[in-house]
Symmetry: C2
Subunit: 338 residues, 2 copies
């Protein structure tokens, strides 16, 4: 299997990418890597940190697409950037999956217009796996589409189900719809319509999930429009940060520090459980090939987890599963209409 990585995406590139590759190479012996970016710099950083480049092919692409650039620039002034080159390698079939921590907007744009969507997919959805109270769950869309129509949400649910089944091993995953009340009459007009479509859809719909229960594992896949999904993802991070800061403040002074020492081990375990990089990055569901968007602040371990995701997606053919489900949905709709 071949995985292509944009070596210059993310805050700690290219070192974190190289570290991720080194970690992944130990765990998955059947992966070959392609790194795109400034070849001289990649080789230099690898040498400085004694990271071997075994099983790594480098495709020289010195231009870096900045995070602030317009996404559409990936087809114009940044068409030779490490990001664009990596996506082209994927599109041309020279790699099986892509992993990178570049700008979300550019990756969504590039996945749509360079790698292309699966036939029948209305919109790509950005879908991270998040840590819940008891188990991880998938939330989508978290920002690829700020305005959604109800039928887009149904596709999101179906694609999320395929991912949780094939990659996370959750059989017959439970699909929930974010809403501000449990009753089907609750929420905006769009969510009320979506609820009706979800009831008829060919997946295990468990009803509305209220925001206060988002982390409570009521569903394995939680569907939202991209605006609401982004609010949920980012607010969760924000509140977690406020709490972490507040709690850290309790462990100051002599007694505080002593108290901290006594609970250190358990705190670390809790922190690991709530670490959203444990399950990799966000998948761009609906794309014709596996595209994984790693978090901008990814370290080596986070990149390794994103590579694991790309590996599982490829090995278990998530794309094929989504294509099949789309075809079935299409047949069903045609039958209903005729």
């Amino acid at each position: 299997m071949k995985i292509v990585l944009d070596a210059f995406g993310g805050d700690h590139a290219p070192l974190a990418v190289l570290e991720g590759v080194a970690l992944a190479r130990q765990e998955f012996t059947d992966i070959d890597f392609i790194l795109t970016g400034d070849e001289t710099q990649i080789k230099q950083v690898a040498a400085e940190h004694s990271i071997s480049l075994e099983k790594v092919e480098i495709v020289n692409a010195p231009l870096v697409m900045p995070v602030c650039a317009e996404p559409s620039a990936i087809r114009k002034e940044y068409k030779d950037s490490s990001l664009a080159v990596a996506l082209r390698i994927l599109a041309e079939g020279k790699a099986d999956a892509y992993v990178g921590a570049g700008s979300t907007g550019a990756i969504v744009f590039g996945a749509t217009f360079i790698v292309k969507r699966l036939k029948g997919v209305k919109r790509l959805a950005l879908a991270p796996v998040m840590p819940g109270d008891e188990a991880p769950f998938m939330l989508l869309d978290v920002g690829a589409n700020a305005d959604c129509r109800p039928e887009m949400l149904v596709q999101f649910g179906m694609m999320g189900a395929a991912y949780m089944d094939k990659v996370m091993g959750v059989k017959n995953p439970k699909i929930g719809l974010v809403n501000i009340g449990a009753e089907e009459s609750k929420g905006s007009m769009m969510y009320q319509e979506a609820h009706q479509l979800f009831k008829k859809a060919d997946f295990n719909f468990v009803g509305n999930v209220e925001p206060r229960y988002v982390l409570a594992n009521q569903a394995d896949v939680i569907v939202a429009d991209g605006f609401t999904g982004n609010v949920i993802l980012k607010l969760t991070e924000g509140v977690a940060k406020t709490f972490s800061k507040g709690i850290k403040g309790c462990f100051t002074g002599f007694t505080g520090k002593l108290g901290g020492l006594l609970v250190l081990k358990k705190f670390k375990a809790f922190k690991k459980k709530m670490d959203y990089t444990e399950h990799g990055g966000a998948v761009l569901l609906g794309c014709s090939k596996p595209v994984i968007k790693a978090h901008g602040s990814s370290n080596g371990k986070a990149f390794k987890n994103a590579i694991w995701q790309a590996y599982r997606c490829t090995k278990n053919d998530v794309i094929g599963q989504i294509a099949d489900s789309l075809a079935q949905m299409d047949t069903k709709n045609t039958e209903e209409v005729s």
Copy 2:
């Protein structure tokens, strides 16, 4: 000043309401109270808990409107409920402000159709004051309107500004608009349009507030549509609960308990800071009289804080301030059109 309370709203009614009145009576000597509900029961609970009924008038209304009832039933089968009677007392000018923890939907409906909106107000907004990292801030709307138009959000901002100024003493409050990016081109079409209107509005607009910074005090008033606002409010509670539970779990076992004892005082201070009942309930902004919706799980202290809110709203004439701002806005718009 006279404040009317629905004695049978909330999970711990009527005891918590009576306790709230007792606490408030000590602090604000110029308030007289009207309690609506089953007179026999109120007197019995007061006697059992040795709570004096000094300065308390009871209006007998034995019917209780259940939380699950349709909001519009407040004008039909529940028109004689403790909630409806309390709102009518307010509407008829026999009290200056209302406080109650009944069903949100019914209170919004009752405030709109029994107490009535201020002239020119498009929609009432449910507006709680939330604890931020450094200071409290107002978030609105948190659920009175699941579908909003951009011009409604502008009114929300203006009304929130009046509240923060008059009740919380924040001069020239900063108004922010929730959005999934800082740039004005970000977010759904509705939010993009709202951003343009906010830029022209006659208040201190500080731009978009990203979800991860909602608690970071970038603004004194954060405006959202009711769907998104409700997601923010409830998700914050949910994530806080997950963290509280996770942290509590760290303080088990011998060393854990010992560690907990050492940081107990600081933890309590942090918990108090993050307690959303510290600043009272949610105000129904846009109503022609002060209507405070207390949290369903309110205890005596939470009711006392909600009474404090009603007291400040009345004493500092928040309604008058909102009416003035609306009139100014109206004049400005008329001038712009002509």
